[in-house]
Subunit: 80 residues, 2 copies
Amino acid sequence: MKVTVNITRRPEIADPQGTTVRRALVDLGHDAVREVRIDRTIHLEVEGHDSDTVHTQVSRMCEQLLSNPVLEDFEVVVHG
Amino acid sequence: MKVTVNITRRPEIADPQGTTVRRALVDLGHDAVREVRIDRTIHLEVEGHDSDTVHTQVSRMCEQLLSNPVLEDFEVVVHG
């Protein structure tokens, strides 16, 4: 099954990578850029027949490895 | 205006980061994982009133800095 995981930094947590990219864009002349935040989208292909089981498995992967639970939230979408 | 940029590795280009994450997941016991690919989603807040102008500006940012044109494709979505 194809699964997409969206990993986003919590809104209250600063994004230093985004801030650095914003500064670089302004240095290149793109001074209309007010804010930049950078998230990850992870695409997985997982063997399985039951969407709920795969959803539970991938949520566990997020907690264990794919996301940083202190700084980030995750959303798992199973496409079937 | 809020803008989302999806940066994806071209399908024919290997994703070493994804391969490393897949191995780590298998090591953790998630051996149903067949493939992992990791993309970036960049959220920007850009000053401007005209969607087409902002789209052109952000596409230029992608070519200059946000994406690697040799390995990656990008898609710009202006939310207005």
